[in-house]
């Protein structure tokens, strides 16, 4: 099982590495958002200095600026845009016969699904850190930039890494579930688009927490993107922990629960798709 899983994961990663357009497309939306939304919404300048900075600090939950707050949100969002190709690859592999070739081997649904999940969890790590790095760079180019005000500890870095991995696992599972359930690429992308935007728009990735009405805060607090970016923000911004009701561990547990549920749904659908056709 381990050997099959390793070989299939290697295959997925090789394919991803050989298709840079998928990586570029994954980065396109988060970077565009950073350069447009992030730069345009300099919310801390509202009121021309008449509004106390403490108000903005509370609104951005400890982040020194909206752009800094927003950058962490985009680092989380890249986990969504990067993993959707993992599900799309299932559809294309079915169309091109590659999935049939693997299904004809002794590898079972666990190995076939697991390898794609692993690849889906690994790829966004680098991209999320790349988004954060680019966000820091824009600050050095005379634009609004990400200002990491906290001294990031080793534990903090591990928490950030875990948040990205768990968020990626959850979305990779979701997109794999969709990929194993559908047969046509156009249907897949229509469904994924219908899922992506509501998930992003009901999270705290974009909006300042302090400006959301309480009902929206309630909805957003359960959103997996929110759970992940909470962990990022607590660790990137000094004193941010005071603005969050829970420790990062609680948010990570929430992500684990989301990931677990999606994993179970996805593996059941993968098993059904890979079983001998009735």
């Amino acid at each position: 099982m381990i050997r099959e899983l390793g070989a299939l994961t290697r295959r997925e990663l090789l394919r991803l590495a050989r298709n840079p357009q998928a990586i570029i497309t994954s980065l396109l939306l988060p970077i565009l958002y950073l350069l447009l939304f992030g730069q345009a919404f300099n919310l801390e300048n509202l009121g021309g200095g008449s509004i106390p900075s403490a108000y903005f600090l509370a609104a951005f939950r400890g982040a020194p600026s909206y752009f800094s707050y927003f950058s962490a949100g985009m680092a989380g969002f890249v986990a969504v845009t990067a993993t959707l190709f993992i599900g799309a690859n299932v559809i294309f592999d079915r169309l091109f016969g590659t999935l049939k070739r693997v299904a004809a081997s002794p590898a079972g649904a666990v190995e076939i699904f697991g390898s794609r999940l692993l690849a889906g969890m690994i790829q966004p790590i680098g991209l999320a850190f790349l988004v954060l790095f680019l966000a820091v760079l824009t600050g050095h180019a005379g634009l609004a930039g990400l200002d990491v005000t906290a001294n990031v500890t080793v534990l903090g870095a591990i928490e950030v890494l875990l948040a990205i991995v768990l968020l990626s696992a959850m979305f990779a599972s979701l997109f794999l579930a969709i990929g194993f359930s559908l047969e046509q690429p156009q249907t897949y992308f229509a469904v994924v688009n219908a899922v992506n935007l509501p998930v992003l728009l009901t999270s705290a990735a974009l909006y300042p927490w302090g400006t959301m009405p309480p009902w929206f805060q309630n909805v957003a607090s359960y959103n997996p993107i929110t759970l992940a970016v909470n962990v990022l923000r607590i660790n990137l911004f000094a004193g941010a922990g005071a603005y969050y009701p829970y420790d990062p561990a609680v948010y990570l547990l929430g992500l684990l629960a989301w990931g677990g549920v999606m994993f179970l749904v996805a593996i059941l659908l993968a098993r059904r798709a890979l079983a001998p056709k009735k």
């Binding site: 099959e4 290697r10 394919r15 590659t98 070739r101 299904a103 004809a104 081997s105 002794p106 056709k277």
Partner: protein, 340 residues
Amino acid sequence: MAEGAIRVDGLSKVYHGSVRAVDHISFEVRPGEAFGFLGPNGAGKTTTVAILTALLAPTAGTAIVDGIDVFSHPAEIKRRIGLVFQESTADADLTGRENLELAAALFNVPRREVAARIEALLDRMQIGDAADRLAKTYSGGMRRRLELAVGIIHSPRVLFLDEPTLGLDPQGRAGFWRYVQELRRDHGMTVFVTTHYLDEADGLCDRIAIIDRGHIVATGTPSELKDRLGGDILTVRPLAPNAGIEPILRAVPGVLSVTAQEGSFRIKAPRGEELVPKLVEACAGAGIPLAGVSLKRPSLDEVFLEFTGREYREEEGGMTPTDRAVRLGQVAQAMGRGRR
């Protein structure tokens, strides 16, 4: 293996409750045998292979491959068999070598043997020079040979070839079958091959089953099948049209039937070569000069015509019953009424 390499009994597959792709077929393939499953598009060949390789559940019947029940132990079956699909299934974004490494890992080829096996296969299939190129850059023939290499990397006991030369030019087809023959000779592999190329089945297979519209209509060696037609076919062509020749030909001992055919006469006879001098002598005795006499063994085209009552290529190019079933399923799925 004391029993047959493949034993199929009463196998049926019905798609969407009405399209009977395979209808209660039974046959046995002996160990080491090359068994051909011959029929036009839509006859049920690919459905049969999909069932025997545990990719498709049958509606009824049993199938034993290499002594293992296919439906009870699908994973074990997949370990023991090799499968070459009619379409390219190798990963186009991997190199030829990477495709083989992946297959070796999936079929649990001992690690210490992997490199040597891959080198040997690349060499045998003559794709060694392109081993480190992405498979998407391969020609059609190279991709077919890579498919075969992937299918046999684990030295399967039974190799299924589902129309493996579809789309290849005659030279590519000949080369592909040469590799398969070498594998049989060197490894004693049982080969189950579906094809709609009659000449391929004739040249490669020890025995052939003719399948038509889901039914096996005949089974036997190529020679046996041809013999069931009544032996050889002779064509006698008189120098000038002569209506009186037919009764003279019929009267020659050994002639089974005579059919007039565009100025010639087509004669069926069990031992054609012995009949040629007798026919010439009978015509000469009746004062009928001949332009020529030819003798040929019946082809599988004629066998197919004999057993199905239809020309072999009749359904080619059109939509097959299975295609229709799949299309119907896709339409139903698109309308939200179910899935395939």
